[in-house]
């Protein structure tokens, strides 16, 4: 089966292992990903912190491109991009805004594209396939970390439940893992402040790691490149804030599934992680 | 909306039931919500009482629009009056179409005794719609149909 694909910048750069693992398991699950041609950055936090019209126009261009390409449904693995695209589509239901933005991007835009995140893609198209193809069950105690952008604003995203979401936990169960019940599933990791206020990110991400380790999770599973890079790449800074340094690895859900499907760590980009991923 | 219509003040008659919509309109008043002066309320015991020929008479006499409003389904003070009214309205609508009368000049709604705000809304939207449609001029046509109808006692 075919589905549109918007990787976004992180997946081409600092979080390319997410891209690699998404592509790898899609292949393994017979899902053909059709990348949006000549896509641009969604603008992320920077855009909507600085200028509303810009924050709508950048995603609008992406959506317009996808529509022009004849795509009906697009999967967006990056939680930040997913959030920006869905929110933009929602905001542009307002005719005035739509007129303003289409005038800015000089492209036609209908707004009927279906935008889904990786978990939704797997839920809808791959559950049975995964069941049958699991060869090396991911038999570990893990903390599923959803972060903010995948879940909120709930009224608009309409994905999972607003507190204590379950879809990733379900996925983990599906591949033989044991998701723990913990408190920081949807607390923010610091996201956009990663570079500008590393100190705060270290503190927030620290709380998350702390709770997960204290409830003896062996790994943290994420579906957002920002969460992953904050929890993984920033581990040095984080550990400075923690009384007991943490060495808990941080997997993308797609990597966990990939391992369960018997794909090699290399295909899934696991060697790119900062924190050792041996389990 | 074109200009000549914006000056035009439609005449609208509201046929409402005593228990829900009339009380609801009272609540609009007690809540001091404002609405257009074009609509004048005629009080019926129940929408079931409303003989739709009376609507035709209204048009025949130069009404530009009509509102019919009563209790929500199942909430009728008389158990089933509003259902009868609804059934009659459905058949009557067919008749109107057949006679070439613009059905969109009749607003059929349910406003409960607790829905003061909704009443204000119904009135204002209806007035706006009728303004759009402009004055009702074809009413002589309606009058024609009604010659034989006896009312005036």
């Amino acid at each position: 089966m075919k589905i549109g694909f918007y990787p976004g910048c992180s997946l081409k750069g600092s979080s390319r292992e997410y891209n690699e693992s998404v592509v790898a398991i899609a292949k393994a699950l017979d899902i053909e990903l059709v990348e949006i041609k000549d896509w641009n950055c969604c603008g992320a936090t920077a855009a909507h912190s600085m200028n509303e019209e810009l924050s709508l126009s950048l995603p609008a261009r992406i959506l317009a491109l996808a529509e022009a390409q004849g795509l009906k449904e697009v999967v967006v693995p990056c939680a930040a991009c997913y959030n920006r695209l869905v929110v933009t589509q929602h905001e542009l239901k307002d005719t005035n805004k739509r007129e303003r933005v289409t005038d800015i991007i000089k492209m036609s835009y209908s707004g009927d594209l279906k935008i889904i995140n990786v978990l939704q893609m797997l839920e809808t198209y791959a559950v049975d396939k995964i069941k049958e193809k699991v060869t090396k069950p991911f038999a570990h105690k893990v903390a599923c970390y959803y972060g903010c952008l995948l879940i909120r604003p709930h009224k608009i995203l309409q994905f999972d439940r607003v507190e204590d979401p379950q879809s990733m936990d379900a996925m983990v169960k599906l591949i033989g893992g044991t998701p723990i019940d913990w408190a920081f599933k949807t607390e923010c990791c610091g996201a956009g402040l990663s570079v500008s206020r590393t100190d705060l990110v270290a503190k927030l991400s620290g709380n998350i790691l702390k709770d997960a380790t204290e409830r003896d999770a062996q790994a943290i599973i994420v579906a957002c490149p920002m969460c992953q890079s904050n929890l993984d790449m920033r581990r040095g800074a984080i550990n400075e804030t923690l009384s007991k340094p943490s060495d808990i690895p941080v997997f993308f859900i797609t990597q966990a599934i990939g391992l369960a499907l018997g794909l090699s760590p290399k295909e899934l980009g696991l060697e790119r992680h900062f924190v050792n991923v041996k389990l | 909306m074109n200009n000549n219509n914006s000056e035009f003040e439609p005449k609208i008659v509201a046929f409402v039931c005593n228990w829900c919509t009339y009380a609801g309109a009272d609540l609009t008043g007690t809540s001091r919500l404002k609405y257009a002066t074009n609509v004048k309320i005629v009080r019926f015991p129940c929408t079931g009482r409303i003989d739709f020929m009376l609507l035709l008479k209204a048009f025949a006499q130069g009404a530009d629009g009509v509102i019919v409003s009563g209790c929500h389904p199942n909430d009728c003070h008389y158990t089933s009056g509003n259902f009868h009214a609804r059934r009659r309205w459905i058949t009557f609508r067919g008749l109107l179409d057949f006679m070439g009368i613009d059905v969109s000049r009749i607003q059929y709604s349910w406003v409960s005794a607790a829905e003061g705000a909704k009443w204000a809304d119904v009135v204002n939207t209806t007035v706006a719609n009728i303004r759009e449609l402009g004055p009702y001029t074809e009413y002589q046509k309606v009058a024609g149909y009604l010659d034989k109808e006896e009312y005036n006692g």
Partner: protein
């Protein structure tokens, strides 16, 4: 009834959010991960807005609060009155920029956002190396993350060359019509 309070009136017309709806239960603050770092937490900010005085509005635009807000949307998710505080924050940040009132401690954050957007403006996509370089140049934090970069490179997480998109003109015009458009500045 029309809003007699100029400031909350503006906020309403730009964001559709009515600050009068806030009844100061504080639930947003209670759940805000950075409340303790802020000059004043979200619920307090809402109260300042409700007063409608220029002094208080000025305090807000000069505060670090609006820049520390991560838009994690926990406040909105839990607000009993469904008040879209993140949306207000976006608006206030824009105002703070346009009125040149950005809080000093927030400079790095703004610089980062600016560098980020520049990178997109010129390449259409985020060019991380360029971003970091530009950010350092803006903030003189030359040594930041020096330890990180090499490992990132080794782990193949850094592209030394930016990815360019074809339709750079299209992107360019989006910027010139929005954030770089002088007219939109003083709105």
């Amino acid at each position: 009834m029309e809003n007699k309070n100029k400031i909350s009136g503006e906020i309403h017309s730009h964001t559709g959010v009515d600050v009068a709806r806030c009844y100061q239960c504080g639930k947003c603050t209670a759940g805000c991960v950075l409340a303790s770092e802020m000059n004043f937490p979200p619920s307090y900010l809402m109260r300042l807005l409700q007063t409608g005085t220029e002094e208080n509005y000025d305090r807000i635009l000069r505060s670090n609060t609006i820049w520390l807000c991560l838009n994690c949307e926990n406040c909105l998710g839990r607000c009993p009155m469904e008040i879209d505080i993140p949306k207000i924050m976006d608006y206030l940040r824009e105002q703070s920029l346009n009125k040149k009132k950005v809080n000093r401690d927030a400079n790095p954050i703004v610089s980062f956002h600016k560098s980020f957007l520049d990178s997109i403006k010129y390449t259409g996509r985020l060019y991380e190396v360029g971003l970091i370089a530009a950010f350092k140049a803006r903030t003189f934090r030359l040594t930041q993350d020096v330890k990180l970069a090499p490992k990132m490179y080794l782990n193949g997480k850094l592209n030394l060359m930016p990815e360019m998109i074809k339709d750079k003109k299209g992107i360019g015009q989006i910027f010139s019509k929005t954030i770089d458009n002088p007219k939109t500045k003083n709105k």
